[in-house]
């Protein structure tokens, strides 16, 4: 402990030049109280992003001990919609927060003790990670790939880096927050030497004004983008990468039949659906369409944060599995006509496979399924990311 907090000798004063000079940053917005308030809000938004991101990650890569539920139907829509919405709202919060603490980058002396040096070093992954997560997230929802790393994996690991650095930052700054925020903060002033000075008079943006502007910015961003997953807000959806009602059969598409290179196979009149279990069988297209049909109202809920409601028609997956003698506790794999690609197949665990809402849909919104939506048949199940709602299905295999 003593080693960590022992004061280093002061560096020579003539080195204190440029932004290192005293009073180099006159803005009254460089204030510990505003920084602490924005920090609390960022802690909340980054916490929500991290938690909802983990939900999405483990939904797609479930560990053996986790059985993901099929209900409530809207769960993934909410968690992934929140993930993207809170990330977007964090843009003004993060930039304003960095502005309030920017003079700390040029503080004098640069390092006071070993503990101070350690704390400053861990600021680097925190700021780098936070900027990285927001920038790559914004690029990904627009499907803009200027980087060579694979988005999902890199975003996932940098999330752990960012949250780890955030925990360290909270540990280091807890006293500053306690001394500057909340009723009775004057009584906690002894905890730190970083105190909010009374606001000096000025003509520019005040501290209250900054908080109002940041809140307005976050509000405007949310209002003009949340329509991509919140029902009823689509008319305000001006600046989101998706509109839930724009696309073939009034539904957006993530991967087209052309991109998946299934145009010829999906249109082939000799198409057959094969269900492999203890009593395997195949259905021709005509037989599949004649199979006992049901209707499900289920949203497509995409990992990119948009969600769109739709009405699907087709045989229930569980009826097909029953016909093949697949036991109720079996997991099945649904296979697409695609020759390759990370999402060519998906596993369906019993909660989803046996859910009465889960269909192998052949129709959408009252018409035959569009090629881009997975004609001749696609999986549609409740509370499941869109990338796992496998399209152009031709095989269902018991595992």
């Amino acid at each position: 402990m003593r080693v960590l907090t022992r004061r280093f000798p002061h560096p020579p004063a003539f080195l204190r030049q440029g932004p290192l000079r005293e009073g180099a940053f006159p803005s009254r917005l460089h204030d510990p109280r505003v920084a602490a308030l924005l920090g609390i809000w960022l802690g909340i938004t980054f916490g929500v992003c991290f938690f909802t991101g983990l939900v999405s990650h483990f939904m797609q890569h479930p560990p053996s001990w986790l059985a993901w539920p099929a209900r409530p139907v809207w769960l993934y829509r909410v968690t992934q919609g929140l993930h993207v919405a809170t990330g977007l709202a964090s843009v003004p919060l993060l930039l304003a927060k960095l502005w309030t603490v920017y003079p700390r980058l040029w503080e004098w002396p640069p390092v006071r003790s070993a503990a101070h040096a350690l704390e400053r070093v861990t600021i680097v992954p925190l700021i780098a990670g936070a900027l990285f997560q927001l920038a790559t997230g914004i690029a990904n929802i627009a499907q803009w790939y200027r980087f060579r790393f694979f988005f999902t994996v890199t975003h996932y690991w940098v999330a752990w880096i960012t949250i780890g650095a955030l925990l360290i930052h909270i540990a280091a700054k807890l006293a500053v927050v306690q001394a500057n925020v909340g009723p009775g903060r004057a009584g906690r002033a002894h905890l730190t030497d970083r105190h909010s000075e009374p606001e000096p008079p000025g003509d520019g943006l005040s501290r209250r004004g900054l908080v109002v502007a940041v809140g307005t910015a976050a509000g405007v961003i949310t209002l003009t983008t949340a329509g991509q997953f919140v029902p009823g807000l689509a008319r305000l959806d001006l600046l989101a990468p998706r509109r839930p009602d724009l696309g073939p059969q009034r539904l957006p598409v993530n991967r087209t039949a052309a991109a998946a290179r299934v145009l010829a196979l999906a249109r082939d009149p000799a198409y057959q659906l094969e269900v492999v279990g203890p009593r395997p069988f195949t259905l021709s297209l005509g037989e599949l369409l004649a199979f006992d049909h049901h209707t499900s109202k289920l949203p497509i809920t995409c990992v990119e944060g948009w969600a769109a409601d739709a009405t699907w028609h087709g045989p229930r997956l569980r009826d097909l599995l029953d016909a093949a003698g697949v036991p109720p506790d079996a997991t099945v794999r649904v296979e697409s006509l695609e020759a390759r690609g990370g999402y060519r197949t998906s596993e369906v665990n019993p909660p989803h496979a046996r859910d009465p809402l889960t269909l192998l849909a052949t129709g959408l919104n009252g018409a035959e399924l569009d090629l881009d939506h997975g004609y001749p048949a696609r999986l549609i199940a409740p509370n499941r990311p869109g990338v796992l709602q496998t399209k152009w299905v031709h095989r269902v295999v018991m595992l």
Binding site: M1, S27, L88, V91, P92, L95, L98, W99, Y102, T122, V124, I127, A128, L131, F132, T136, I138, A139, A142, Q143, W144, F147, R148, F149, F150, V153, T154, W157, V158, W160, I163, G164, A165, L166, L167, I168, I170, A171, A172, D203, G204, G209, L210, A213, V214, A217, V220, I221, T224, T225, L238, L239, P241, R242, L246, P252, N254, R255, A258, A259
Partner: protein, 150 residues
């Protein structure tokens, strides 16, 4: 320094944070076929450099210019409206710049984003203009001697 419960809590929090941070770095480095650690590091460091050495100085210069260009009671409104505009434009940058999407899929980035950004920023600045008008009226009332002036 005395060892208080608060200090112990902060120590535990820092240790947990360090472990989580290490886990993230380990994952980033071991999954290198997907994460391209050198590329990722370049983007991570690049973000900090662009922010600290470009974005902040540019913001400071804009602030300085505003002190010359806009008078006192209205400058705060203009600063606030600029902050909102910049944040909205940054959060939707790939869209109104026309980056991204895929040529065969018109349902990705399907809207006229340049026009939409103009609508949203137009509303923001209309709000700012209303605020300025209110401040101007208030200043005039303070200057005007009595309620009898019409």
């Amino acid at each position: 320094m005395k060892t208080t419960p608060a200090l112990v809590l902060r120590g535990l929090l820092a240790a947990a944070g360090l472990a989580v941070l290490g886990y993230g770095i380990h994952g980033l480095l071991t999954m290198e076929r997907a994460t391209h650690p050198l590329q990722a590091a370049r983007w991570l460091i690049g973000g900090i450099l662009i922010h600290d050495l470009v974005a902040v100085p540019v913001t400071a210069v804009v602030g300085l210019l505003l002190t010359r260009l806009v008078r006192a009671p209205y400058r705060a409104v203009v600063q606030g409206a600029l902050l909102v505009s910049a944040a909205v434009a940054l959060a939707s940058l790939p869209l109104w710049r026309g980056y991204g999407g895929s040529p065969d899929n018109p349902t990705v980035n399907p809207l006229p984003y340049g026009r939409n950004l103009a609508i949203v920023l137009g509303a923001v600045w209309a709000g700012a203009a209303a605020l300025i008008a209110v401040r101007a009226a208030r200043a005039r009332r303070r200057l005007g001697s009595a309620p009898d002036t019409s």
